[in-house]
């Protein structure tokens, strides 16, 4: 093992240890605050109470059930949002006219706060999974769209000329030049999309649902079970972080050929 790898390994170990340490300190302060100020559980539950509720929800399968429901909405929304945004993004990147025509609508669609239209979407599409997937897809749509257009447009013109001089077909242009060249920016958009889609799904669930982590949070509020609200929120955080990390990993793998 050469000197550089050894230092890398040490760095990672040190980073991991410091993360654990700061987490532990945070939990100690939280538990201490609750005990010192004698806060009632329904205002701020202690970490021990949250952990106990977390274990109970895990044990009876309800946490898995509701997490799976939210995850399904998130993944479906992410997939449909990304697919639609990429398709439209490709069309917009190719046609400046189309971009000019659609620009005002697209910007307007982004300007509408998701939280405000979620109730409308739930009224129109019901409280089932479709409204959540739609809200998710809408939340993810614009960032991915913008990144697609920017990424595709940023392909160096001289490389395009090269492909054209070799009589590349449109598909070859797309597959061999545009996609690989735009990939870093596209994946950046996917990173944003992954975390936003979790927000979209939960907003939909908070408005109207009978399953999912947002629903669980509502239930906790209604029964003054604030520990359950914490469990829901923390599970959502884990979900979002996991998705984000997955995209990071994907980025590392797909962009290995890029010499940095």
């Amino acid at each position: 093992m050469n000197k550089e790898t050894f230092t890398e390994l040490n760095k990672r170990k040190w980073r991991g240890a410091s993360l654990l340490m700061s987490l532990a300190i945070f939990l100690i302060i939280w538990e201490g605050l609750v005990r010192l100020l004698d806060l009632p559980a329904f205002i701020l539950p202690a970490p021990s109470q949250v952990a106990e509720r977390w274990l109970r929800a895990l044990a009876d399968g309800s946490l898995l059930y509701h997490s799976a429901a939210t995850l399904l909405e998130v993944l479906s929304g992410l997939l449909s949002g990304v697919v639609l945004a990429s398709l439209l993004g490709y069309a917009l990147a190719k046609s400046r006219l189309l971009e000019k025509v659609l620009q005002p609508f697209l910007v307007a669609s982004q300007a509408i706060p998701t939280v405000a239209i979620a109730p409308l979407l739930v009224i129109w599409f019901g409280a089932g999974i479709s409204s959540k997937v739609l809200i998710c897809a809408l939340t993810v749509f614009f960032p991915v769209l913008v990144n697609t257009v920017v990424g595709l447009r940023a392909v160096p013109e001289n490389l395009r000329d090269l492909m054209r001089s070799l009589r590349a077909t449109r598909w070859q242009m797309l597959g061999m030049l545009e996609l690989p060249a735009a990939l870093p920016v596209l994946l950046g958009g996917l990173r944003i999309g992954a975390t936003l889609s979790v927000i979209g799904a939960v907003v939909g669930e908070l408005v109207g649902a009978d399953r999912g982590l947002g629903f669980l949070i509502n239930v906790g509020r209604g029964q003054y079970d604030t520990a359950l609200v914490f469990v829901g929120v923390l599970t959502l955080v884990c979900l979002a972080v996991t998705l984000y990390s997955l995209v990071l990993w994907l980025e590392k793998r797909l962009l290995r050929w890029k010499m940095d």
């Binding site: 409280a127 408005v207 209604g222 359950l228």
Partner: protein
């Protein structure tokens, strides 16, 4: 390229078509209740669990969507029944929606105002100049508060209103508000369980108003009166049975109310008390009977608040004719 787009469009149409094919049989009823699963819906859970609906040939599915515009959907014929508070019926009818209130579930309007004992707010007059937390300036809480202010000879400008969403318990506990508008069977129980001594002023002590009940539309009454009667028979049976068997009702709630079985002993006891307090407010003698005077009071209040512009024909807004005969 052309075939690609053709296929995409076909797939999309197929998807829409499949969705439309999921039409429901007419005895399958989706019932919006306007809130998440809760022990207050015990009669409905009872009626589902013990087969009261099934005996009548009905299949009832609970809709917990808080944003369902129940009155609009029932009025438009999209839904057959819904559980709503009485004022929604008058407000809907004023918009031309042909909704009819066919069964009174609650006898007492469930709204009240709670305050810590030390604040000394025992009668409506005591609200003068006080900070009052209210979920929002709409809905049953707003109407209930107005009724109480009237009873104390006060106007809205004589008090300070805080829109606080559903954080009444925390607001009162932390002293952010001196009084909070609550549901009599809910927040006060939690407050007392947390060790706070509270005074609760109940709207129904001062004015009889129309609380939660079952609505349907004019079309149902014309074309499917038997379905309406069946629905009311089964639902009133559920209400009566839950009222006379509160322990069994609570047990059944474990199956239908998410997380109820995961609560601590104290938290479950709070929910037990919530059910008990709710039962105390139901219309039981006879079950489902609507009181004409309460409707008149409700209309007068809405007119005074400017929520109704003109008086409606109350005779057609509600009906006792479809209730099970004793």
């Amino acid at each position: 390229m052309k075939t690609y787009w053709k296929n995409a469009v076909l797939l999309l149409l197929a998807g829409i078509g499949l969705n439309a094919c999921a039409a429901k049989p007419s005895n399958s009823i989706r019932l919006p209740v306007g809130y998440i699963p809760n022990v207050q819906f015990a009669p409905l859970y009872m009626a589902i669990e013990k087969g009261f609906y099934r005996e009548e040939g009905l299949e009832v599915e609970m809709d917990y969507n808080m944003e369902t515009d129940s009155v609009a959907l029932v009025g438009a014929g999209e839904l057959q029944f819904a559980v709503v508070s009485g004022e929604q019926v008058l407000l809907g009818r004023a918009q031309g929606l042909p909704v009819v209130y066919v069964m009174a579930w609650y006898r007492d309007y469930p709204v009240g105002v709670a305050a810590k004992k030390e604040a000394g707010i025992r009668a409506p007059e005591d609200l003068r100049g006080k900070r009052i937390g209210i979920p929002g300036l709409y809905g049953a809480s707003y109407i209930g508060l107005k009724a109480l202010l009237n009873a104390g000879g006060l106007e809205e400008k004589d008090v300070h209103l805080d829109s606080i969403g559903y954080t009444q318990v925390e607001s009162l506990a932390d002293g952010l508000d001196e009084a909070v508008v609550i549901y009599v069977s809910n927040e006060p129980i939690k407050l007392r369980a947390e060790g706070y001594e509270v005074d609760v002023m109940v709207v129904s002590d001062h004015l009889s108003l129309v609380g939660n009940g079952l609505i349907t539309n004019g079309n149902m009454l014309q074309e499917q009166p038997e379905t309406v009667r069946a629905m009311l028979r089964a639902t009133s049976k559920g209400i009566a049975y839950a009222a006379s068997h509160p322990e069994e009702a609570f047990e059944i709630c474990f199956k239908y109310v998410e997380n109820l079985k995961n609560l601590t002993e104290e938290e479950q006891e709070v929910q037990r008390q919530v059910l008990k307090a709710s039962i105390g407010m139901w219309q039981l003698q006879p079950v489902g009977y609507s009181d004409g005077q309460a409707w008149q009071n409700m209309q007068d209040l809405l007119l005074q608040m400017g929520l109704l512009e003109q008086a409606l024909d109350l005779e057609v807004a509600f009906s006792n004719a479809y209730l099970p005969q004793e």
